[in-house]
């Protein structure tokens, strides 16, 4: 592993300028826009076309502010903060101008909030409520354009479009596949594409997120839920080893959609369509809901007080082979590793591979070949990456299947172990010979951390309740270890993490508070 000590020499500080925004003094690097300076002063200047991940367009004119001694109102996204500037956001002149912008955006808008998916999370609604006109002065027919299916997951509701061009800029600058354009000009302008070329780029779904209004919508989540019905849980996409930060949006304990969450160090503001649309497995109903213990020919429903001791009895004094899923959290894998260490034996994991799909406009961001979230964590914690899930399983071992995919395991391989303990979310047919089955939460039903391919440890939080009697995975493994007398039981994921940080040098010095929302890179860097 390469040593990556944090640089100890001070980086040259950029020249700072001091200005006042809405009476609040703020100091920002020279060259920063007034809009960004406003954010740092705690003032959100209304805007549409500006996006921190895209080039500056300056066309919506929504961010107009009054700058003392300047002749005209300034578009704050495109005006540099300057020494001694005094900026007013809420003076009558600025408010009138922005109200004028909103009025003009609304006159030809269909105002169909009752049937628009964006309702409740729409910036046109938000700023109109805040400072828009109460009535329409339009006495003429509205302009109407039909809906267009752009392909992929993207539906374009032309009439709602405010022509901010965020989508065009995203595809051009970040995806670097210029498949969207502005067609025609003036009030006939619409977002367009070339006939026959669909929006199937692996990252195209991000245009839906960057669209401030309900013009670009996800076909996958069309009409499924109202935005205010949704709960949002910050999480990590489990689709590959990139570890894009996401939000899992649920309603009534069902995942409705995934959306990216900003992280400057990992995915900026974006996530790929493959990860975005792969959430239905989180909602699957064919889950193990109660602990199961073998009684003769069949597995019988049981409860934790019986199943845990039964699992311990199974393992006591035996060599173990742990087939782990690379989508288990660091916490759970750590406890499984302790089981391996105490019992003697080994642990392994396999990863499904798929084609990469980089996002060229962002440094080091790609859909990765390794289609699992925590292969790096499994590696650090001592699990061996194998081509086949049961490589290394010896005759007589107790096989612990920790939610691993054993669909490729052969009958002969599955006949090798002396006993099978399943700690998992589902019970496939070929594992019905198990002796004990302990139901666990999937990653969206518990808290934990993943380690991405760059060694960044990132937290994910619980988005929905686990079904039936299923418990967090780290809790279950901890109980088994405790029952064996080989460890303690844990009731908080943070406690497991702290214990791990105390024992595994890669995580030394880390804790949940320190990880926060951005994560930290393991000591010694990624392997």
């Amino acid at each position: 592993m390469a040593t990556t000590a944090e640089p100890t020499t001070a980086v040259a500080q950029p020249k700072m300028v001091n200005l006042t925004i809405e009476g609040r003094p703020v100091s920002v690097p020279e060259g920063m826009s007034i809009l960004e300076a406003g954010k740092r002063a705690g003032v959100l200047i209304p805007h549409y076309c500006y996006h921190p991940g895209l080039s500056i367009a300056g066309n919506c004119r929504m961010c107009l502010v009054e700058v003392e001694k300047a002749a005209k109102l300034a578009p704050s996204c495109a005006t540099a903060a300057a020494e001694g500037q005094v900026v007013h956001v809420y003076t009558e002149k600025a408010l009138e101008a922005r109200k004028g912008v909103l009025e003009m955006l609304l006159i030809n808008h269909p105002l169909d909030c009752p049937i628009c998916d964006k309702s409740g999370e729409c910036e046109l609604q938000d700023f109109t409520y805040q400072e828009g006109p109460a009535k329409s002065r339009l006495r003429d027919p509205k302009r109407f354009s039909p809906i267009e299916d752009f392909g992929g997951d993207v539906l374009y509701t032309t009439s709602r479009c405010i022509l901010c061009t965020r989508c065009v800029r995203f595809m051009d600058e970040i995806a670097q596949d210029t498949v969207l354009n502005v067609s025609a000009r003036g009030d006939r302008a619409v977002i367009g594409k070339y006939e026959g070329k669909e929006l199937t780029h692996a990252w195209a779904g991000n245009v839906i997120d960057v669209c401030p209004v309900g013009a670009l919508l996800s076909k996958d989540s069309l009409n499924k839920a109202r935005s205010w019905e949704l709960d949002h849980a910050p999480s990590i996409c489990p689709g590959c080893s990139q570890g894009c930060n996401i939000s899992i949006d649920t309603r009534d304990n069902t995942v409705i959609r995934l959306r990216p969450r900003p992280n400057d160090d990992v995915n900026k503001y974006f996530m790929c369509d493959i990860g975005r649309l792969d959430y239905r497995w989180i909602n699957r109903q064919d889950r193990i809901e109660v602990p199961l213990v073998r009684r003769g020919e069949s597995l019988a429903a049981s409860d934790w007080d019986v199943a845990i001791p039964a699992a311990a009895a199974l393992l006591d004094g035996k060599r173990v082979f742990v087939a782990a899923s690379p989508n288990l959290s660091n916490e759970t894998l750590h406890l499984l590793a302790k089981l391996v260490a105490s019992a003697g034996g080994s642990g392994a994991y396999t990863v499904r591979i798929g084609p990469e799909a980089p996002l060229p406009g962002v440094k080091d961001l790609s859909l990765r070949a390794d289609r699992a979230a925590n292969g790096a964590g499994a590696e650090i914690l001592g699990f061996k990456r194998t081509a086949s899930p049961l490589d290394g399983l010896a005759k007589g071992d107790v096989l612990v299947v920790a939610d691993a995919d054993l669909s490729t395991a052969t009958v002969d391989q599955l006949a090798l172990p002396g006993a099978i303990l399943v700690i998992g979310t589902t019970l496939p047919e070929n594992l019905r010979t198990a002796s004990v089955v302990l139901p666990i939460a999937n990653y969206a039903e518990e808290e934990g951390t993943f380690t991405n391919l760059r060694g960044r440890v990132q937290r994910f939080s619980q988005a929905k309740a686990a079904p039936g009697m299923a418990r967090p995975s780290w809790w279950v493994v901890g109980d088994v270890l405790a029952a064996l007398g080989k460890g303690e039981a844990y009731y908080l994921a943070s406690e497991v993490f702290s214990a791990m940080a105390g024992e595994v040098s890669a995580f030394s010095g880390m804790n949940y508070d320190g990880l926060g929302m951005r994560g930290m890179v393991v000591n010694g860097g990624a392997s």
Binding site: N59, R61, M104, R139, D140, L163, R185, D187
Partner: protein, 437 residues
């Protein structure tokens, strides 16, 4: 001269001297008329010397903005190691203006010479001449003139034997008034949609292909060789009113006037004399009602204002309008001002690039309301709404097309309100809730 009219004795023919003279279009013909002496002289000077001469002359941009040309040229920093560009704005699309067309089709070499001189003065080796696609004849004449200039060694790697490189490239537009806006023109040359850019950065810092660029109008560049040959003081002395407005200017006269055409007069010339004497006044049996002195984007003048105006930058401002491009549109008593302002609004709505909210929606909304008033379906509230929209469209956008649309609307309603009110027959608009009672 007053082409296509006969020359008037009170004109000052400098640029228009050979309008109508077919022989002036060829290189030989141009040389016989003193052509390329200005360039020859300039190439023996340093760029800094040329810039000083142009500054002293007081020449101001003839496209409409009136920015002092010498000062604009001085923004181009010599020795910065970057390729400099000159862009000649031959996109002439401001309604009422047709002077650059005549310069190019009668005296194309005047512009070739002006471009070469201008390029040299700003340290550029390449000049793009952006000619609107509709100008078929000017394009043909300019292309021919450029070919002749290359063949004669005036353009190319060894301009007039001085070892200096000057390339002039003709670039044909494709139908967009907005490409006459300097930053939109640069985008168009780069092969993009003709969207204006946010300034800063200014063209002299980052222009076409992100390099230092100067954009000048056809008439401006055509004037420069004359200034080099006859001297800055000669040009500066040509001033009949405000000393800040020097030289001669081509005024394109059109509309309801006896003798439409281009006229070249010294700046500061009295507008009343110009309209009634040089241009012949109204058509028989009619009286003049309104004048737009500088292209449709400047405020409409009442005849009282027009007749009191001196034809220069300061003079028109004093009388409620602007010199602009010098496109003089004359309206007589038979015209319906409401209809014509509606048509002007429609022009702007058609030409808006669509970037800025206020312009994209405002020009179209203004047009709808104006046309509704024109058709007798307007209300008094509509007039208030028009003013409010115009106010929102002013000083709030990336470029001034938005402001330009607001100008004829506001000046029209203010100065010809009776014509609007005569068409308003509908009662006050009642919202639905009130109708229930």
């Amino acid at each position: 001269m007053g082409y296509p009219q006969p020359s008037h004795e009170r004109e000052t023919p400098v640029l228009s001297k050979y309008f109508g003279d077919r022989d002036a279009t060829s290189l030989d013909g141009w040389r016989k008329r003193g052509g390329y002496e200005g360039l020859r002289k300039a190439l023996s000077m340093t760029p800094a010397e040329i810039v000083d001469i142009v500054k002293t002359s007081g020449l101001r941009g003839r496209g409409g903005a009136g920015f002092p040309t010498g000062i604009k040229w001085s923004f181009m920093k010599p020795g910065d190691g970057k390729p400099h560009y000159l862009c000649c704005n031959a996109d002439e699309s401001e309604p009422g203006t047709f002077k650059d067309r005549e310069i190019m089709r009668w005296t194309p070499h005047a512009l070739v010479e002006g471009c070469a001189l201008g390029a040299y003065a700003i340290g550029a080796e390449t000049a793009y001449v952006y000619i609107r696609g509709e100008f078929t004849e000017p394009l043909a004449r300019m292309r021919q003139a450029v070919r002749e200039a290359y063949d004669a060694g005036i353009l190319g790697t060894n301009s007039m034997g001085t070892g200096k490189r000057i390339d002039v490239i003709i670039h044909k537009g494709a139908g967009a008034y907005i490409c006459g806006e300097e930053t939109a023109m640069m985008n168009s040359i780069e092969g993009r949609r003709g969207n204006p850019r946010i300034k800063p950065p200014f063209p002299a810092v980052s222009g076409v292909f992100a390099q230092p660029t100067t954009i000048n109008n056809v008439e401006t560049l055509a004037a420069v060789p004359h200034i080099l040959v006859q001297g800055a003081d000669w040009y500066k002395a040509m001033s009949l009113s405000s000393p800040k407005s020097t030289g001669s200017k081509l005024f394109s006269v059109c509309g309801n006037i006896a003798r439409p055409g281009n006229y070249e007069v010294t700046l500061g010339f009295p507008f009343k004399d110009f309209l009634y004497d040089l241009c012949g006044g109204p058509l028989p049996g009619r009286t003049l009602k309104a004048v737009v002195p500088g292209g449709i984007s400047v405020p409409i003048q009442t005849m009282e204002e027009a007749e009191a105006s001196k034809m220069d930058y300061e003079g028109f401002i004093e009388q409620g309008s602007m010199l602009g491009s010098g496109g003089v549109i004359v309206f007589d008593d038979q015209q319906n001002m409401v209809k014509q302002i509606a048509r002007a609004a429609r022009f702007f709505a058609h030409e808006s690039c669509g970037q800025c909210t206020q312009c994209r929606e405002g020009t179209a909304w203004t047009t709808r309301i104006m046309e509704r008033i024109r058709d007798g379906e307007g209300t008094h509230e509509d007039l208030d709404t028009l003013f409010s929209i115009a106010d929102n469209m002013t000083a709030t956008t990336i470029c001034v097309l938005s402001d330009s649309c607001a100008v004829p609307v506001m000046s029209g309603i203010r100065k010809f309100r009776s014509e609007f009110e005569a068409l308003i027959k509908k009662p006050k608009f009642h919202p639905v809730t009130a109708a229930v009672a």
